[in-house]
Subunit: 215 residues, 4 copies
DNA sequence: CATGAATGAGGGTTCATTCAT
DNA sequence: TATGAATGAACCCTCATTCAT
């Protein structure tokens, strides 16, 4: 679990702990039921404190949602970058990137459900997540690919931006759609990712035919 | 528009037209607001008939949702298959498949929103869509790849199932996540798809190095 | 009682009866508890129907208040005028006017409480009542005095407007403040009114000293 | 302003200053919003101290209301008496009394609103104010009239008690209803009062016809 | 002692559902 | 049969009050 609620002593004054507990509880309940079906009553119960605090601290249910949406976005990209070692073999690196996508989306499954559930209804949130989170992850992939191009382990004419975008796209897709939504077995997804990684890296091998159209 | 509501003469008895109008209206409202935030009143209003009919025809709001979820799943895969011509060049075919994903998900955007919104909350619906819809589309892709392997336009040792799964995965991802959720510009998505198609087809070119691990 | 609620058959469709019952019940509850302390729950209970109707019919508690405020203002002035016969003796007429003030304010005590309670908080309502209701009653008094001046039963130099304003002022004061707020015994109030009527009419007797300043 | 809140140094222990600040703030807030709509939070904020003190000092919101109601009643009548000089001409004196009513009710408008707002809901408070305050003011008017009767500037058969009651009645009415509730222009009210004063004093002029019934 | 964090009862309101018409 | 009036459960939220600090 990446998302557990530390318990809270009733009556005791401890604002920060309660805020955390509420955000954690809300993340879980929003993920399980969806924002609208979630009740502040259940959130407060799970957080072990009173409903009123949701309104005092966050200005209401909607404000609590905002807090949930903001709560992890800061660290999640850094964690992502930190988790991927640099490899000599570009296949290993692309493979690692894709597996990390799967891992991070599986680990933060609840947050992801909340984010995407909101994005489905509120286009602005969708765009925000797309640009704030995914673009930053795509930029990371771009850097990694560029390094391989520079080192000669990928073809010099590689469309770095396009490939990076494709990799992060399928990474998110496999992780989110496959694991979170469709609940495909993890092995199946991992096999797909490996196949994809191998195919794409082979296509970008240095010294091969041109990567331009109509080779 | 792929989803318009034919109007209905109020007071007139015409069950089938009314059911359709309700399903269309519900699809739109569920997509815009999400299931829980949608009200039967708005759905009935948009359909041009009374709230009571939702309960008489579909047994309530939940039943109407089920009807919406079922309403297109029958035809949508056949339409998908019919829309993709067979090409001599495997790149053209993979490219066509991916563009059709983008097109169909964009066209049926509302249904897709409803489906995925539900899938996020109810795992069973997610699994159902995954197996009923996506597996059938993946099967189609498999057939097309197999044909190219048989014709010698793709390498004989191609991992057809894995590649098909990857292609349909990124097709859905690009279409749904990119176009529907993150609202990326269509050209950007098309470019990504083309890049991906070219890379993967090049990796599977016949006569090249083995497609097995550690080539 | 001028304000009773006809009962309502539960479940039966009878919008008008329910609207009436709600307005009557609300008048009573608002009068007893004040607007803010009144609960829609109690109002609905007394009206014998469900809370939801308050919001469907009147758009909420506030709308119900508006309905209460409007409910009698149309008829109340006409009733007032109709209740006062024309007398030959101006004392009898002024006396009758003052007693009618007392009577009408006592009879519609609940409405009056609601109106004044609102006026205390919302200045606009106060002004509205002052101009809509009281000005019209003062106009009536003016007409009656003018008739006596014309007939010669009051001095020709009588400041009709000023006296009329004073009479309706003390009429309302005695009726509202005395009977409704301070709950003075009715006889005491009636004695005061009679004293006042006699004094003022004597001061306006025809043929006496001038009614101008520094007589 | 007759009702301002002296500021309070936060954190400092100064019970009396804090009690005063709370009573002043509460008077203002109760007057503006009505007792029920007023919040202890706003009162505490305006008083510049914490909500808890309301309960510690006054035993809660209700207790604070009681304190507000009691806060001025002691001095207000004395101030009223002191403000009215003795005149030789009874008209001047009656006129002065009526103007002082208007002045005192306008000056202490906020207290008056609170008192009357409560009286509308709680009959006991109405009766209390009626007897405690108004009876004492009426007694003062009685004394003043008696003095004029004794001095021969008013007719010896004057119904002192009745006239005094009428004068204080219309004084309160004009002041409260006219100025506070209906917000009539001050000049209009003053004109009414002068007219009334002149009429009633003329009716009580010594040497005129009997002031007994059916003269 | 003063503060403000925490509580929880109860408020107005919404809305799916039922049912008289 | 289709309508919309009526229902009532449950929601989010407010706020007086209590109590740890």
């Amino acid at each position: 679990m990446g998302e557990t609620a530390g318990d809270v002593i009733p009556g005791r004054h401890d604002r920060e702990a309660r805020e955390h507990a509420l955000i954690d509880a809300a993340t879980a309940v929003f993920a399980e039921r969806g924002f609208d079906a979630a009740t502040t009553r259940e959130i407060a119960e799970r957080a072990g404190c009173s409903e009123g605090l949701i309104h005092r601290y966050f200005g209401g249910k909607r404000g609590l949602l905002r807090a949930v949406l903001r709560s992890r976005s800061a660290t999640v990209v850094e964690e992502f970058a930190a988790a991927i070692p640099e490899y000599d073999d570009p296949f290993d690196e692309v493979h690692a990137i894709l597996r990390e996508y799967l891992l991070t989306l599986t680990t933060h499954q609840q947050s992801v459900r909340v984010h995407l559930g909101c994005a489905l209804i509120d286009p602005e949130i969708g765009v925000e997540i797309g640009t704030l989170l995914e673009d930053r992850r795509a930029a990371l992939v771009r850097e990694r690919l560029a390094r391989h191009v520079a080192r000669g382990t990928l073809a010099p004419d590689t469309d770095v931006a396009g490939i990076a975008s494709a990799i992060s796209g399928i990474g998110f897709a496999a992780g989110f759609v496959g694991a979170v939504v469709f609940q495909r077995p993890r092995e199946e997804i991992e096999r797909t990712l490996e196949t994809f990684a191998r195919a794409i890296v082979r296509g970008l091998a240095p010294g091969g035919a041109s990567n331009e159209r109509r080779a």
